[in-house]
Amino acid sequence: MSIPVLKFDAVIVGAGGAGLRSAIQLSEAGLKTAVLSKVFPTRSHTVAAQGGVAASLGNSEEDHWHWHMYDTVKGSDWLGDQDAIEFMVRKANECVVELEHYGMPFDRTDNGKIYQRPFGGHMSNFGEKPVRRSCAAADRTGHAMLHAMYQRNVKANTQFFVEWMALDLIRDSEGHVLGVTAMEMETGQVVIFHTRATIFATGGAGRIFYSSTNAFINTGDGLGMAARAGIPLEDMEFWQFHPTGVAGAGVLITEGVRGEGGILRNANKERFMERYAPNAKDLASRDVVSRAMTTEINEGRGCGVNKDYVLLDITHLDPNTIMKRLPGIREIGLQFAGVDCIKEPLPVVPTCHYQMGGIPTHYSGRVVTPQNGDYNTIVPGFYAAGECACASVHGANRLGTNSLLDLLVFGKSAGDSAVEDLKAGKAHRELPKDAAEKSLARIAALDSRKGGANVHETRLAMQRTMQNHAGVFRFGDLLKSGVEKILEVEKAARELEIKDKSMAWNTARTEALEMENLIEVAKATMISAEARKESRGAHVRDDAPDTPEFPNGRNDAEWLKHTLFNPVDNSISYKPVNMQPLTVEPIALKTRSY
């Protein structure tokens, strides 16, 4: 079968914040650039971001990139690479101002500067007191950001392939990346994008968990494609959970609800946070609250028939306050829990929110992999940015508003690096004869298989396994049995069957292909989490408790290192954390406490 080949200088998979930002660099440098997206660009999940983007502009009060750097290193529980973190925070102002020039309608102060508000974990003077560092555009920050960058790309002649799904990375025998295979959903046609540079900006994979704040689109396709092409995934055990997602639905209930006086209660109506955090109570940090909730549920004090959630109570607040100060919350309760929060408490559970790990990259956006003893060997022609990449700036835990910054800074630097490499003038390398074989075989198998596993059931089995065995609070024995279970689910995921065999708009096939990506991410997460025997940041193990020798359960002597999951044989190796910033002194190890 002959497969059409489209030749471009660069293909970018993903039209969210990271993809659009890198596309601007390439197109404006005059390179022929294609951007692929499963959905219209401004339907990418970046739209959901409301909190804002961090930059130490110092518009509202004194601020400095070095303070921002300190907060990010501390937030990461020292697992973030300090060279990449310095790079990111120092580029922040430039990237935000650029965005303003692209037409992003930031909120403004009376004197016309970008207005900044405080956000958890962002402090002044090396952790002293909260600082106003977040820049937002009303409650539509992500949305406004995508619009501004999409317009800029249209002007620069970026070519968009909307409702196209990338299937597999194409590599030659020397490991060079030569593009991707992709399927046009409208026709079901598979095409080769033959390029000199390939950038992945495919976003997160939060749908591996049963309870997730992520939209359905976050299926980790970039990670799945990288894994199938033999590229290891970094720090996949680290997932940030948000304490208050609506039980069953996952929809996020903002921290603001507890800020306004919301109280968490167990089945006995007890305000249990008083026991876990006597001072901060319900306003303790995300991880403390999430773990307390999980302990209540695990010890049988959860609510409902299955005792599997706790309650967020705001019935004591004045209904007018709820309507005025917490717009949209009542509607979320009504629509997704069938509960009117003015009269009844809301059912909530800790919910997967953000993926810290991903495809390993250098801060230049180039993908790196271990080879012959060098941990950071560049994979020629391959770049990644945004939530699918691991630079690593978020380490073991991300600070809010740092991910929008991540996608701007590293989207741009991945684009710049690609431009630099392409200007060095390498021609298109020859495509291997079997460039599309793997993808075609996967599709053919889906189309012909009889008696295989059901996609919906397999996804559910994976999500429940991840939630129960690798959730917000982890246990050695559960992780062990989780590894066995997820490998069982993987078998089913390799044998999926779909009923619909049509070519055009076959959503069943698309969802099956997404499932093949999700399982790669789930497996990497479970195996990496089982292997890391300490607690650090978002990875908290019952068998690595807080002791004087190991505060918070963190063990730097043994575990100050990045995990690399090798998808070829499910093995784990480790690489050192880069503790050496670019120009300043290293931020020395300390116990992370707020």
Partner: protein, 80 residues
Amino acid sequence: MERADYERLRWRCIRRALLELDISLTRFLDEDFESLSEEQKQVFVEMADMEDHDLWYLISGQEECTDPRYAPIVALLRKS
């Protein structure tokens, strides 16, 4: 509605930018869409094209529904 048109619409409903819409629209397609008249189905196709925040504000009642063609569909989308 032709199969391909329906499946295109389905994709555009089950892969939104906001999780709120993924859930609401999937439920609507599975439970209510078939009961619409052909004309109403076309109105829904138009609604599905809206920006995510605008559509969610309409469904959640944070914004008033001023288009009389949308009202009966919004009512169905709202029911939990």
